[in-house]
Chain length 249, copies 2
Amino acid sequence: MKQIRRNQNNKPSLYTCMSPALLNLYEVSSSIVVIIDVLRATSTIATALYNGAKSIIPVDSVAECIKLGRQMEVITAGERDGQIAEGLTYGNSPFQYPKKFIKGKVLVLTTTNGTKLLHMALAENAKGIITGSFCNLSAVCNYLVEQKHNVILACSAWKDKINLEDTLFAGAVISRVKENFNINCDSSKIAETLYYEGKHDLFEFMKSKDASHYHRLMNFGLEEDIRFCLTEDNSNILIVYEGGRLLAR
Amino acid sequence: MKQIRRNQNNKPSLYTCMSPALLNLYEVSSSIVVIIDVLRATSTIATALYNGAKSIIPVDSVAECIKLGRQMEVITAGERDGQIAEGLTYGNSPFQYPKKFIKGKVLVLTTTNGTKLLHMALAENAKGIITGSFCNLSAVCNYLVEQKHNVILACSAWKDKINLEDTLFAGAVISRVKENFNINCDSSKIAETLYYEGKHDLFEFMKSKDASHYHRLMNFGLEEDIRFCLTEDNSNILIVYEGGRLLAR
């Protein structure tokens, strides 16, 4: 009976994909895919676009970033091992993109995990691609509810290993939109449970769990970055991927 | 400092692999791999061996199960879609293997997710392979603490999709052994958090989350199977995989 009721209620489906290595298990071509890379790619993307960047072009290698930056005469950014990558000009911190600097500019950004996942979703003909982070949580949720399409919350993870912060963000979205979707997906139930445990203080939660990425960024002295990236709606705009660019909508 | 302390404390590592599709991310050859398939393969294996089965031979297809059963003149068992598979004699329920039936016998068992994962661990030259379920939780934990080797808690999942019950079991193990291991692994932190949320009543937790496998087995009328498989230490023996067979130790 329950199964029948589920299929008849006409709600779209929502799945959480906790690692890019699992994306092939989901029906990407019939879904809006939310690319999640909380520390720090999709948070920095939200911040830069919120502060007026014209567009952001995500690329997956430093070499391509340098090449495209030269061709287009635009800003290049990206880090490897916590340092600005050789040949690029800016890093991955949201604090590097205040309004007075980024407004009206195009940014070519190289990130490893998030960009790889975005290109995978593109190759699988996703119905739509948006980026999500705590920085633009409400905009993401409002859009997903309005669209009434199937959704995949796609975590960028770390070299395919599941991470805490992307899973927490998936849980945050689920906690807000779940009445509007069929969620027959244990990964989503796990993400939501995790979020309820951590939501009262996400930074303290990450710290108490000694999350691997928390640990890594703290070692680089980036506590303020982590705190910023775990703050809800500080750059609350919708970001869509269209024609090879990330744009504010 | 913390990183250095971690590397110097000489504890072995523990990782949780939430899906067979992620196993390649972990150093299998230097680890004891715990194969987890709570609903119901590794629970039924624990029960049958606890009740005196001589050994269990896990195979990954019905055809191989039939063939081996004939050659060895032993019991064959396995289900597909909740029914005893055609050509086999018994199913996947722990209640089918009481002492009076199974004592002294060899069982050839075909399961999809768990057997596939076990063979993957074998192909990657795991240092050791044991099976784990709530039914033999303490035996698993005691063994891991005694061995002082690196550990991978490997969830069988469902066709590579992460599931709630295997993750819960990984969390149960972690909650008991964590002081003895370095756990620099977000999947383990997620599993442990999930377990703390659910541990007071695992059945009610699975029900409240409408876990996909809970839902599936309830539709087959298998509530008692689920309750049994979520009960700690009801068949508390160590099970090792040696020479192609699962044996009680």
